[in-house]
Amino acid sequence: MTLNEVKEILEAEVIIGSDKLKMEVKIGCAADSMSDILAFAKPGALLLTGLTNPQVVYTSEISDIKAICFVRGKKPDEKVIKLAKSKNLPMLMTHLPMFESCGRLYANGLIGIGYLDIEKKNG
């Protein structure tokens, strides 16, 4: 799914990265807990979160998250936007709550990370 499709589906606003909307995101990941993102996120994922602090950007960089979409109308402040810019990390923002955002993306074919572990267990 491209970032542009994400934008359309979630009726989102582009905070930074309007030149990167053709970028593909493979996997959806929804969390407000940084440690869980670090533990579970797979490279290339789209992160949906309600947090807007600088650690979201650092966590994304370290977990190879490809793009962030803030939910529930949360918008990061200038400092965080600047930080994300310096790391070339596209950021979107949607007014939708997390539940609706995940639901819509999933219904449109974006897959989650859990599959990987389950598939592995089932061989």
Partner: protein, 121 residues
């Protein structure tokens, strides 16, 4: 109308605390790991999806009269959490799936498509 019982069955959830009303109608869902956010924005009858496992989640669910809690990412609730859940009649379920996927599944069952949930900020 969809009940908690149906959700558990269809999404293969493991029930950790079985005291509470499993025939209750699920009215929308809320995903968040931040307690203050859930306190501020969740609605009565919501099913709450989180990865938090500590006892405070039961207090929040009780306060907001949520229909139940689904803990994701293979996490197990603490003993204290389960004890409280039983006391307060809050159903607690766990799943191996991530929040993103379990919400996807709930959404496919028709939960949370109502506009009342989509409007809140």
């Amino acid at each position: 109308m969809i009940t908690l019982k149906e959700i558990i069955q269809k999404l293969n959830l493991e029930v950790m605390s079985a005291s509470g009303d499993f025939d209750r109608e699920i009215r929308g869902g809320y995903v968040s790991d931040l307690l203050s956010d859930v306190i501020a924005n969740s609605k009565e009858g919501n099913i709450w999806i989180t990865l938090q496992t500590h006892p405070n989640i039961v207090a929040v669910a009780t306060l907001k009269e949520l229909a139940g809690i689904i803990i994701v990412n293979k996490r197990k609730p603490e003993d204290e959490t389960l004890k409280k859940a039983e006391e307060e009649n809050i159903p607690v379920m766990v799943t191996e799936l991530s929040a993103f996927e379990i919400v996807g599944g709930l959404y496919e069952l028709g939960i949370g498509r109502a506009t009342e949930n989509a409007k809140e900020v």
